[in-house]
Structure formats: structure tokens, C-alpha cells
Amino acid sequence: MIPAIFVFLYLAAVLYIGVFAFRKARGRKEAEDYFLASRSLGPFVFLFSLFGTNMTAFAILGSSGHAFSNGIVTFGLMASSSGLVIPLTIFFIGTRVWALGKKHGFMTPVQMFRDRWECSHIGTVIFVVQAVLLVPYIIIGIMGGGTTLNVISGGFVPYWFGGAIVALVVMGYVFFGGMRGTAWVNTFQTILFLLFGAIAIVVIGAGMGGFKSAANAMLSSPALAPLLTRERISPYYFFSYTFIPLSAIAFPHILIFCLTAEKMKHFKKTVIFYPLCILAIWLPCVFLGVMANRVTDIPEIRAKQEARRVLATQGKSMTPEARDELREESSGDEVIMLLLQHYAPLWLAGLLGAGIMAAVMASDSQILALSTMFTEDVFAFYGHKERFGESVQVHTGRLFIVLITIVAYVVALRAPETIFELAIQYAFSGFAALSPLLIGAIFWKGSTKWGALASTLWVATSVVAVAVFQQVVAAPAPGPPVVIWSLNGAEILSRTPGGTAVLGFMPVVPMVIVSVLLMLIVSLVTSKPRPQTIAKYF
């Protein structure tokens, strides 16, 4: 229960920060202040809040869980590739979007697209696709909050109550503090993340009796040694993952965050330190996740290893449902919490639990982004801002925050978590494949609204197609993939234990390539915006 008290104190602190930000906001231009903190964030808050916005529950819980099952490859797949691609996109795209926002007053990506390509309803289509891809994050954040509070309190706080508390706290500080509150909370959370990794590795390392013996013991075990290499992962799969971080800049909440910097020079620190921040958080979590495989005195971790062993040896003869059940049992998302509970003193487990909570609660920016998009791209665009005024627009944004949180909470109580975990998997690919829209709008005079529409419809169709395919064709047992369609010996479409492969690559690769081609080809054969519109951008 002591760790849970620390977590509650943490929740009270973030709520206070949000309300404090609300007080600071008085007397400024309403909508821009509430949704973009008056475009006034300084370099320190901008770096930490932008980074914190991009770090979800996956950064701590998911990374260690993935590493527990897949080994050191997790770091190269998800962390170091992001450490290169995300700051590059912030450098090339984020700075330009910031400048356009300052010049033309944009508050959302869709506003920019509508202006750049002289379109209205096509912008609405892009809004719908972005919103649908964003909603699962909010739901999974509430689910993660409920589960984490339940585990940290040793079952004392039930899942439904934990989820409700997290939903109320997030809704509270986003409602009152808007972008300023969210940015400050994210800054506070990022500092907690960064402390978390360093402290966790020292405490757990000491508890395990040092990592040298654990690493050597793993090397001498035929079942565990491959986790210290990447021999079980295909190089095509590894390469495919470098496309996923393209999603970061296409996420509306990240792009909207880029508009909050007071000066362009504030991007400099963010771009330079982003890879180091990722390193500081992911390296300890991945390493601890791998080392958890050597832990023999935590029954829950042993049960996970046993489930993994049974899945590997008998999985082929099982029904798809039984395989899914074993996959769930062997999943390592809570290994880091189990390690902390076992090796850290109670008060420290509480502090580190607050760090985990900070990661789980990253859905705040998505809620605020959806509210900004709704009020700007729908409410204001269809004339309601002119009719009712800016105050009503902000009130509508706040009402939207309450509604979306309630809906997300109700869905989180009723639906199985795995569905939304899958949805997030698709959402990353979807947003990565939407990135050509941004690149086309900013860097290519020849891009048109029809090219943008073709890319957007392709993204929507391909995300649905992959989801349906993975629902219809059950995941095979660990081992070689099931080939569904081959041509002259080439494996065109396969179902792998972890998802789908197209010519050996993850679906994100063809999704991005086709999206680029559609943007290019359709734009070339359709009419361009007026020269004076193009002149505003080039």
C-alpha cells in the first residue's frame, strides 16, 4: 500500500500543476492560450514536454516487456532508430511547421493542409482519419493507469477505480491547464522518467547480485543466449522498424506541440538532446527486461517463462485461442514492476511507481490534441467560432475533453486491452504513412489536395486491411511465418507470430511507399492551388 500512497501523492502533484497553469493563463488571448500556451514555451519546457509527449506507457512497461520476450533487439528496433529519425523530422519538418504557424496562425495540421491545398472537406477527411487513429491511445492510457494502480497497491485499488482516478486527474489538469498545464506536467513526468531508469538499474542490479553473473549465465543457456543477440529477428523486420518513427511528426499532438515554442532556436536543444533522452530511458528498461529472464526467485516471472516455453514447444498443436492465451500469460509488460516490488525498498518502489505512472499517463496530450482539432477543424471551420465567439470555442474544447475522457473510460472498462494494443500497432503504421502529406505540403510546390486525399484514403484502407487480415488469419506458433500468398517462390503476404509481413517487410514499408507514390502521381495529374497560395509557402 505504501507505493500506492506515493502514486496518489504524485497524482495530486500533477493535478496541482495543471490548476496552477490555469491561474497563470488569465488575461491572455483565449483560444491560442488554452490550446497552444500562447506559443510561448521556453527551451527547457519545450524539450522535456515534447519528449514526454512522445513517451507513452510503452517507454517503460512495453520496452522492458518486449525485451523480456525478444531480447536486446528491442533497443535497436524502437529506441536507436527513433533517436535518429524523430529529431531529423523535428529538424526538417517541425521547424518549418512552427514558422508557418507563426506566420499564418495555424493551430492544427488540418488548418495548414486546408490553406496549403485550398480544400475544405478533404481536410475534414484527414481530420477524421487522424482522430480515429488517435483515440486508442487515450483508451489504452486509462487502461494502463487502472492496471498500474491495481498492481502497485497489491490489488487494494480495483482496476475500475484506478482507471477512474487516472481519467479524472488527466481530465482535470488538461481541462484547467490546457496546453500550458499539459506541458508543465509532461516536463515533470519526463524528469521522473529520466530518474527512473538510472535508479531502477542500480537498485535492481544490486538486488540481483550484479549483472555480470546474470549475463554469463544467460550466455551459457541455449534457451536464453539468443536474447543477447538478434539471431531470431529478420534483418528485413529490423529495417522495417526504421519507418515507424516517421509517425512521430505526423501525430497531431506532436505537430501541435511544435507550434508552442516561443522561438525557433528552442528547437535546437530538443533536436540535439532527443537521442540522449531516449538512450537514458530505454537502455535501462531494455537491459532490465532482458536480465529479468535470469531471475529465479519471482514466481510470476517464472510462470511467464514457463508459458513461453510451452508456446514454443507445443504451440503448433494448439488452437489459436489457446496460443493467444499463452501469449498473454508470457507477455512481460509488468516485469519491471515485479522487479521493483521484489528488489527495491517499499518507499523507493513507490517513487519508481510514480515514474511508471508518469509514463502511463501520457494520454494527456492526445486528449488535448483531439480537443484542439475538434474545436479548430470542425467547430471553428464550420462557422461556429464567428457565430458564438472565442470564449464559447474554449468552453466547447473543455466540454469535448470531458466527453472524450468519459467515453474512453467506459470503453476501457468493457473492452479487452489487447484490441487497443493492436489498434496502436496499426496507428503507428498509419501515421507513418500519413507523413508524406506533411512533406508534400511543406517541400513540394506540385503537391495537390487530390494527392493528399489519395494518400489519406490509402492509409485508412491499408490500416483496416491489415487489421482484418490479422483478425481473420490467426497468429501462428513461434517459428516460421505462414505464407498466405506467394508468386514464383517469392513470399508476398505472410502471417507472422507478431503480425503481418509483405515481401518479408512489416506492412509499414509498403504503406509508406505507396502513400508517397500516390501523393506524387495523383498530384502530377491534378490541378495545383493558385500561385498566390503556393507563394505563401515557398
Binding site: 529538424f91 543477440t229 534483418p235 525557433m264
Partner: protein
Amino acid sequence: MKRVLLIIAVIALYALHQDYWFWRTAHPLVFGFVPIGLFYQACFSVAASLLMWALVKYAWPVHLEEEIEHRKSEEDATH
């Protein structure tokens, strides 16, 4: 020339992410417990940060910054 070198550096670092040479081995264990593949990718992150520093130093889009500053001073003058 500076621009060409930076483009080459970005492409080279992207290619270096695919470190096939450490694909099937954990040896040597750096500091006695970090597999070489993981250590390499950690060093890659540091290299990415250095590349970002070079981009900021030598390819910063100053024109965008100046345009906004110029606009702001014009607006301030009119008010």
C-alpha cells in the same frame, strides 16, 4: 560542400543502424555484462546526437527564423 557532407553523414548513419556484423554474437560483453550489439546501438544513439549537433550548427534554417523576427519587429512598429 557542407550540405553534401551532412547529407552523406545522415545517409551513412541510417545505414550504420543496420549492424549486421553484430547480428549473431553477444561477444565481447562490454564492462563484463553489456552484449556488444546493445552497446553498439547505445553508441549509435550518441552518434545520432552528435549528428544533430552538426545539423543545428551548420544547416540551421536561419532564413525562417529571420523572416519571423522581421515580421514581428514590423508588427511591433505598427502597434
